[in-house]
Point group: C2
Chain length 396, copies 2
């Protein structure tokens, strides 16, 4: 009786979310400390203390209507301006508040921009491996997702040649995610420059506008001094989706923004349409208290050192066992090769040791698994004997 599309989805579902529910089941059975759940990008590190003090300050000192009331669908003007100025000071960009739309997380931002851009049948390119949810977001607006295969031999940097081959007259947008979920790879300035050159050339050839949508919830998580290129500086038709989920450990609060490069084609029209899309999709506006909170926390830093310590200990532990991993420069994911190439088998075998992983098929890149290390250091430490047994089972 219900939507046929949705019936199909209830039969499939998200493998990541399914594992999250499986984790809850196992935790009840074996106790929290005996389950090594590496499935979900749910930061285990607390939000900065400033989140609490800012919230308390706002709740006590601002009027209820100003804190909890409606505002423009695009967000509080002063919050939008603060975000713009913060970006400008960090990246030398020239945003104003008018280029910033406060959103219900990055997932909200992605849906808003896709609703804004896509006509039915428009193509959106993604580079494998990628967050599979993009496929649902694109299909919400009757777009067609085209997957560019993983550049395994090129350290999982997206391939400009493959991009050039994939662009057609129907290409409306390209989504990239930098630092990358699931590989932890940071797309380098060199990669981004090459991708931008392809898109500029294709736009000219085809007489179209191709928007680069940069999904950046992991921007602040970069290690070893790596810099994450800010895309508007490389390519004019860029729109950035951001979330404080990871940087401030607030994934449940659904607070983010969409930044439209003021130099992009139809920038003003896009912002007007995106504001309407934010309303009619039912977001209405980004949660109001959290808008005010993040505006006070723009200079707060994620606990990068803690993630870095996890990254090092997990990488060492896994490679000591004989597993082969991409050494991640950003985000909080380890991308590990499945011995023998069967990631489903690896996920199943790991479950026996209460180790929960997500198979690469969930990122359109079988043969690998994703290990989210936004967990407590103890989880990593205590999981290593299990990984060791797993390695022995594989005879590596």
């Amino acid at each position: 009786m219900i939507s046929e599309k949705m019936i199909k989805m209830t039969q499939g579902g998200s493998a990541i979310r399914a594992m999250f529910e499986e984790g809850n089941r196992l935790r009840k059975l074996y106790g929290d400390e005996n389950v090594y759940d590496f499935t979900l990008g749910n930061p285990n590190f607390p939000a900065p203390e400033k989140v609490r003090t800012a919230a308390e300050d706002i709740l006590r000192n601002c009027s209820s209507v100003d804190v909890h009331g409606y505002m423009s669908n695009s967000g509080y003007p002063e919050v939008r301006s603060a975000v713009a100025e913060n970006l400008n000071s960090r990246f030398g960009t020239d945003f104003t508040g008018d280029n910033i739309l406060m959103t219900v997380g990055a997932a909200g931002a992605m849906n808003v921009i896709l609703k804004t851009l896509l006509n039915p049948g428009d193509e959106v390119l993604v580079f494998a491996p990628f967050f599979l949810e993009y496929g649902n977001y694109i299909s919400n607006y009757d777009g067609v997702m085209k997957i560019i295969p993983a550049n395994i031999d090129g350290d999982f940097q997206p391939s400009p040649e493959a991009l050039a081959e994939a662009v057609t007259p129907r290409t409306k947008a390209v989504i990239i995610n930098n630092p990358n979920n699931p590989t932890g790879v940071i797309y380098s300035a060199q990669t981004v420059t090459a991708l931008a050159a392809v898109l500029e050339r294709k736009q000219k050839e085809l007489g179209t506008s191709i928007y680069l949508i940069s999904d950046e919830p992991y921007r602040e998580l970069a290690y070893d001094g790596y810099e994450v290129p800010f895309l508007t500086k490389y390519y004019r038709n860029t729109v950035v989706g951001y979330s404080w989920s990871k940087s401030l450990s607030l994934p449940g609060e659904r607070i983010g923004y969409l930044a439209v490069n003021p130099a992009a084609d139809d920038a003003e029209l896009i912002m007007n349409a995106a504001t309407i899309a934010n309303r009619i999709l039912g977001f209405v506006n980004a949660p109001s208290l959290m808008q005010r909170v993040v505006a006070q926390c723009l200079d707060e830093k994620a606990d990068v050192d803690a993630y870095d310590a996890n990254r090092r200990s997990l990488y060492k532990g896994l490679t000591d066992c004989g597993f082969e991993c991409v050494y991640p420069s950003g985000a909080f994911y380890m991308w590990m090769k499945a011995p023998g190439g069967d990631d489903k088998l690896l996920v199943e075998r790991a479950k026996k040791y209460n180790v929960l992983l997500v198979g690469g098929a969930s990122f359109a890149c079988p043969g690998y698994v994703r290990i989210a290390y936004c967990v407590s250091p103890d989880t990593i430490k205590n999981s290593l004997p299990a990984f060791k047994k797993l390695a022995e089972e594989y005879g590596i």
Copy 2:
């Protein structure tokens, strides 16, 4: 270059939101106290003190990961259970937490259930006058909205006969909004019983399931002892969308729920699909801190007496001027007849006196205007001389 649908929308836009922006402009020009803005359902009364104390308590005493982290897409199990128990104790229903999906406000709930139910071309019936945004929500999922004309001679109670005429084999859902925005009318038990009988009969005749979607952000705002019928008790295939926007004065926070009658056809499938829809539409989950806050505030009451005082003083003031209004039993809207029948003219004329109203065309019911009286008592008092002048201009 962008979505053609969205380009059209930027050219139209929401008259209500446009008036809200106009109000901001006028306030800057003339000062807050000299603009009588009756356009937006933005409660002027503060949230109950308990909202602040609950938030502080949660922020101080729960772990950051438990307050701000991801949870199941359907919401915290304990919050869902608390909502279910609260409904059961008030309305004698038999919900469990499994029937409750926490959502990003009622607008989120409406989008989630429409995404869940609709196949392209499915018809959704609405009774004029209604919140015009429903049309956008329905069209998001390629549904077809069919408007049942206003029952002006029947005190704006929906007409069962008109409903019977409008149902076709493609009718998937009927949306009602009780207490009603914009009329302030409460659909009576008698009305609801008659509507349910029509739907039951039509379901049998046609061999279909027709879902009644009850949008209930105003449920707690009922005056003179009026009771708002709880729909699941009248009609099995009922889904309720709720928001704490009005009852707790939290419209900016985007916190609400969807309640699926456990006795509805495919209730479990609907809940599974709705949970996925919540995720893939980009809501992901209802804002986490606010989920915990509202769970502690389920017994808090809106300041109904304050709204009631506004209702009485505004009704008396307007009718003393000679205007004709529906005497509202619920919500915080006054539905006033435009003298001469031209609501656009009335809205324009009112603007000259810094009085901002929304024309009935914004609710598919020209000839009337909506006056949102969720304002300070002073706004009402000070606006009455302006209404008096307006009445004189009409010679009434």
